[in-house]
Symmetry: C2
Subunit: 433 residues, 2 copies
Amino acid sequence: MNHEPPRAGDGSREPNPHIPHIVIVGGGFGGLWATRALASAGVRITLIDRRNHHLFQPLLYQVATAGLSAPDIAAPLRHILRSQRNVEVRLGEVTGLDPAAREVRLGDGERIGYDYLLLASGASHAYFGHDDWADDAPGLKNLDDALHIRRRLLLAFERAEAADDEAERAAWLSFAVVGGGPTGVELAGTLAEIARKTLRREFRRIDPAQAKVRLIEAGPRVLSSFPEELSEKARAQLQKLGVEVVTGTPVSAIDERGYTLGEAFVPARTVVWAAGVAASKLGALLDAPRDRAGRIQVQPDLSVPGHPRIFVAGDLASVQQDGKPVPGVAPAAKQMGAHVARAIRARLAGQSAPAFRYKDYGNLATIGRMAAVVDVHGFKLSGVLAWWFWLAAHVFFLIGFRNRVIVLVNWAWAYWSYQRHARIILGDDESPP
Amino acid sequence: MNHEPPRAGDGSREPNPHIPHIVIVGGGFGGLWATRALASAGVRITLIDRRNHHLFQPLLYQVATAGLSAPDIAAPLRHILRSQRNVEVRLGEVTGLDPAAREVRLGDGERIGYDYLLLASGASHAYFGHDDWADDAPGLKNLDDALHIRRRLLLAFERAEAADDEAERAAWLSFAVVGGGPTGVELAGTLAEIARKTLRREFRRIDPAQAKVRLIEAGPRVLSSFPEELSEKARAQLQKLGVEVVTGTPVSAIDERGYTLGEAFVPARTVVWAAGVAASKLGALLDAPRDRAGRIQVQPDLSVPGHPRIFVAGDLASVQQDGKPVPGVAPAAKQMGAHVARAIRARLAGQSAPAFRYKDYGNLATIGRMAAVVDVHGFKLSGVLAWWFWLAAHVFFLIGFRNRVIVLVNWAWAYWSYQRHARIILGDDESPP
């Protein structure tokens, strides 16, 4: 809390030419951690984001499944950084890069010059060349996606209740989550829990517990980034929650009536996409080497080959370490952001920037109520203990004291009552989802 | 909490012809209180609403001003009524009434027969024949409205920060609330508080405290439903919060550049409409006498003249008592709903329904942090005490224990920190608000 009188903005638009100007694109984990690590550096920072908030992405699936409300896992960037006086937060979309002139171009035409630039605009989901699936299989990357998926999930049960014939009712009660990574596992597990526990006794014509929740992974196992034994544990826990886990079979088609698994068409009115990842389009604005997902293949110091004043952090960066790619997870993004801050300080001091090393603190994934898997340097946990471990870690890392309190209260409530407080359908409820 | 195993829906669509069927349209205070009051009656109830949730409308302005998130003030109707086994909740929009056949028609074409019908679909805002103002002066009736207004308010400060010239900046920092009733007073007071307290130190080029917040009332005073001395108190408290209160002058035009007050054009990019009220369109589907706002002029027992099996409750009902209209407030709607339940029980018992009498427990309005006015049978309060009274009353009446806890935590947090946790801009942030 702070009780100083409000300060007037000085209204000046003239940058001080003697102070190096750092432009950071993206207020996610990479961009925000870099910004904070530059608080004491003698630089001006402009943080540009298309949205006004930092999003705690690891809990986004909880918004999509009505367990948390949007503001529970997001905080305005301006608020987070209000006391860091060397930062200016700018709501806007970067539409162009001009490395020669050292400028970024915003959607509104404004040009912002930089001495050093950090691209941390992250990634979105990809449909592997099947963009026509997007309408019928929405993905989950931001709060708007989450609220859209929440609406689809909740409306499906309403449509089933109102359905006139058995086939239609069954199609509305048939759910599929495509992609067996952490997000897919979290969505499927929670969805099964909603159908079996949260909604029980609330409907009169359907039994929500009869809903079919299917998790589809084209590869051989779910949570492929985990040791095989934990993938097996995860599968078992999912099945216990009522999820049908299908592996080794790709989805070959999706439309508003359902999806095709291998050769077989499955009627389903609700399909959620948790599969592919594609790096932010910003990467394509640079003449730099990129991997198949569009990530920029950076130098050891996280700068862009041929563009020493441009750095990349987070999901937009493709970093190899000991022959393995650094994973696209929050801790990696934070570490890259902090590293870029160090690299810029070194450059400003006339030294060469150190090489980035990712420190892997382990891997967590939650599956549903009291079910999770944890792998910390070979120390493996699953089930209840893993779940408490996961909960503590995630609530601890939530930005802002208030959010932690609220999220804990919500969780405690949801835990004891099986209820999910955000089961509110927004938008025109009469239109098809 | 309830730990019975889930019950299967019986899937049957055949109503039992021996049990009277009550159809209730609208899950607001009127419809929900009627539904609950019929729990022990030997009737089947179908509750139809276009939305899946009951909304605690008295706190809607808090969502519009980012103090609470949408799920804090709403609960799914199915959940509220899950244990009342004689109720079926139906998400749908009533598009037709056929009193002769005793049927309501839904948007999806389904017809639902009734023995008694309660219309409690409430009211919306009206532009007095200026519907073209709707885009530039959004009104506040449901959660979608609230989230839209929240977005507009928050984006205005962002646009001001990014503005290039003084005039544009000033226009983005110029806010007007049209309508000096409780909602207008609440919105204006809270908006001034946001500009002066919540956002301080978060911007670098503007001083949010310089924002002009104007409350415009065409009539002679704000809160005209209160005693004159409390209107004066409210005006003083608003001015103390930094609101410019303009009375006795109508707004004659509104467009995207600003509004015209009397003869003078005032540049303003953000105008919120808190003025007119129009009853739900359902009223027009009946051949019944209606007042200027479209409310149905009901019989003393709240039935519709010429339609003894149709009742009306809440904002859709026009009721005169002792020469004065019963106000369109939550307590009145609850009392009407409960009365209609009594009336239906009487009719089913072959007796005639009693006449409705509104019991006025007093009138509350909040103005901002620690400022409110209370009038309970001539016992008048204003300022801090009135605010605590208001807070206690509203949190107490919030549906659902959980909501009360969360709302209190949010309020305590907002109170001590001046922060508003829901300052999240949803939707495409690059598009104009």
